[in-house]
């Protein structure tokens, strides 16, 4: 049983890889079979990631950080997978989103193009791999796997808009991948290692000449991740690409920007944490100001957009900016608030992307622009009043569900009580205001107030934009057709939003978990030890583990 539990770490990578590869051999016309396999694998991933999370949280074994040596090569020489609280949480988040998006796609989207299930599973594999790996070059490989799958998924369903947006998306990310390679090789050139934990031990003792190159390499690497995370000014591709992607693809993409955020969080705290000697807090100022600029850009974008899908795209930017700024603040409390915000905003935005597709289904393509134009010219449609009554009589439940979910998404994105968005923003702000954090993180007092003002303003702008679009969509009589919605689609949206509600109700244990995660991230010695000398904890685990 213990041996099995040890190998469970690699299951989130191997399982979707094998299933996806096998599904390639099955003809696309046997879609029900493929869908069944894909859903079964994704559900299994959800179970596995819950088990892994329990393990990482120290509930089933003594060791909280578990390293898994691939091919049994010892750590600095071979590639390791590392499971700690943060990676387990991200894998769980990926599985949740994956299951919701896949179930949602069963209604119609998985028929829109070839090999949807395979691509989807490969994307999950790349995401899980990127979260679990403890090796920089292996991270590059998993990044390419997930990007390759995402290139195809962004085009899923084809059409001129998707191809145009996809082209930009692919070019930007290919250029970023080149930067990734240059950064990784520069780091290898001066440090002689690719293992993240080994690298962390070598940085404090480096001489100034090497340190200069290492920091240059880390900065180039950081740019590559910031492109993925969507930091201004590297983010102009993002809203267009996300708005153009089909709903299930966009929902799973909302965790893809978080991959960039995750790596930045992991590497900046592991490599350039407080114990890194002269390199301590390298880049945290860039993250702080860049994050603030991203929030500002995102909130202007949120206010300016006229379509719901672009609104969601800019919400992704606001979310990324908030996270990057919180990482830049650099105290453990801000990190734990940021982690709560990360999970919450990812679930909310993914739910919103799915919801948008349902709401827009019954509408004309230009309805949003038309509504704004009519508003601007002072038009009000008085002829349509009768039709509205008719709509209300005919189908109240679907519209009520869509409207209710829309309100929930609005509350979550704006960070208003009673839902978990408020808790996340509150945790973040109280941590940012904490004077201990300002002293250690470096930023001045004025910056703190600007950051808090930006956080509040971003919530306000999200609320304004959601209210405006909600009124146009649900109350204005422009729309006559009621969207035909399938049960699985309702289930997927409800699943994501209910999880947010659950996070609100059970906020205490979740916040405790985030706090412990942040504490262990800010004290990376345990991580380094468990990777480089896994001997002692492994023995303790082997004897002490209970299934």
């Amino acid at each position: 049983m213990t041996a099995f539990a040890d190998h469970l770490i690699i299951a989130p990578i191997v399982l979707p890889l094998l299933a996806g590869a096998l599904l390639l051999l099955v003809d696309d016309r046997r879609r029900p079979f493929k869908a069944t396999v894909a859903v079964a694998v994704t559900a299994a991933l959800l179970v596995i990631s819950i088990l892994l999370l329990r393990r990482a949280d120290g509930q089933t074994a003594l060791s909280q950080t578990v390293s898994y040596a691939l091919g049994d090569w010892p750590a600095p020489f071979g590639i390791v997978l590392v499971l700690d609280r943060l990676s387990a949480m991200m894998v769980l988040l990926t599985s949740i989103l994956g299951l919701a998006a896949l179930v949602f796609s069963l209604a119609r989207w998985h028929r829109a193009g070839p090999n949807f299930h395979t691509l989807f599973l490969f994307l999950l594999m790349g995401l899980n791999g990127a979260f679990l790996t403890g090796d920089l070059f292996n991270l590059f490989v998993f990044f390419e796997v997930l990007l390759a799958a995402s290139y195809a998924l962004v085009l899923h369903g084809m059409g001129v808009v998707r191809v145009k947006a996809g082209l930009h998306y692919i070019v930007v990310n290919l250029a970023a991948s080149t930067l990734f390679l240059i950064g990784v090789s520069l780091i290898y050139g001066v440090s002689g290692t690719l293992n993240m934990a080994d690298l962390a031990t070598r940085i404090p003792g480096m001489n100034d000449h090497d340190r200069m190159f290492l920091e240059a390499g880390a900065a180039i690497l950081g740019v590559a991740f910031l492109v993925k995370a969507g930091m201004w000014p590297l983010s102009f591709w993002l809203p267009t690409a996300y708005a153009a992607a089909s709903a299930p693809a966009a929902a799973i993409f909302s965790v893809m920007t978080k991959v960039g955020v995750y790596i930045i969080l992991r590497l900046s705290l592991l490599l350039f944490g407080a114990s890194a000697g002269e390199s301590a807090h390298f880049g945290s100022q860039v993250l702080l100001y860049g994050g603030m600029a991203t929030i500002a850009f995102g909130l202007v974008g949120v206010l300016a957009t006229q379509t719901m899908s672009r609104l969601a795209g800019y919400s992704v930017l606001v979310s990324s900016g908030t996270l990057l700024a919180a990482i830049g603040v650099g105290n453990a409390a801000a990190t734990s608030g940021a982690l709560f915000y990360l999970v919450n905003s990812t679930l909310a935005i993914a739910g919103f992307f799915l919801l948008i597709e349902l709401v827009e289904r019954g509408r004309d393509a230009g309805a949003d622009v038309l509504a704004v134009t009519m508003e601007a010219f002072g038009y009000t449609d008085e002829d349509d009043v009768n039709e509205e009554v008719e709509v209300g009589e005919r189908i109240p439940t679907i519209l009520a569900f869509l409207g209710g979910s829309f309100i929930a998404c609005g509350l979550l994105l704006a960070g208003l009580p009673p839902l978990s968005g408020f808790l996340a923003k509150f945790a973040l702000m109280s941590a940012i205001m904490d004077p201990a954090g300002i002293g250690t993180g470096g930023p001045q007092h004025v910056v703190t107030w600007v950051l808090i003002a930006l956080l509040i303003l971003s919530g306000l702008s999200a609320m304004l934009a959601m209210t405006r679009i909600g009124i146009q969509t649900f109350w204005s009589p422009l729309e006559t057709a009621v969207p035909g919605v399938r049960g699985v689609e309702v289930a997927a949206v409800a699943f994501l939003l209910l999880l947010c509600v659950l996070m609100t109700v059970r906020a205490a244990p979740v916040l405790d978990f985030m706090e412990e995660t942040a504490m262990s991230l800010h004290a990376p010695k345990a991580y380094v030890d468990s990777v480089l000398s896994p001997g002692a904890p492994v023995d303790a685990k082997r004897t002490g583990a209970k299934p």
Binding site: A148, M158, V163, V171, I182, V184, S185, Y188
Partner: protein, 114 residues
């Protein structure tokens, strides 16, 4: 040898960047290819440039850094080449789809007004 390699990487990167910023999709794909060549050469040079050195340790002689070269960057380059090759092929497909759907090879899918 260092100066030649450095110049080659510089020229490839410069040309690649120039082409990447051009408006035609074909120029962009060539630019991306040149950039990835530059990156590959750069990775290779990070293992320190050596001539007449093997990356393999003989079974009966102890490993000596004076006669050996670092095999890891070579393995990394191999991986990077395969990945960039696959990505170029994938991008080529999207490029052709864009050309077919929009009727132009401009990266924005329409000719600029200038």
């Amino acid at each position: 040898m260092e100066i030649i390699i450095a110049a080659a990487i510089g020229v490839l990167t410069g040309s690649g960047l120039w082409l990447l910023l051009r408006p035609r999709t074909f120029q962009v794909i060539i630019g991306l290819s040149l950039l990835s060549y530059a990156a590959n050469l750069f990775i290779f040079s990070m293992g320190r440039l050596r001539s007449n050195a093997v990356p393999i340790i003989e079974p009966d002689t102890p490993g000596n850094l004076a006669t050996l070269t670092d095999p890891l960057p070579q393995a990394l380059v191999l991986t990077a080449i395969v990945i960039s090759f696959a990505m170029t092929a994938l991008f080529l497909v999207v490029l052709l789809a864009s050309r077919g759907l929009t009727g132009t090879d401009h990266v924005d899918g329409r000719e600029s007004d200038l």
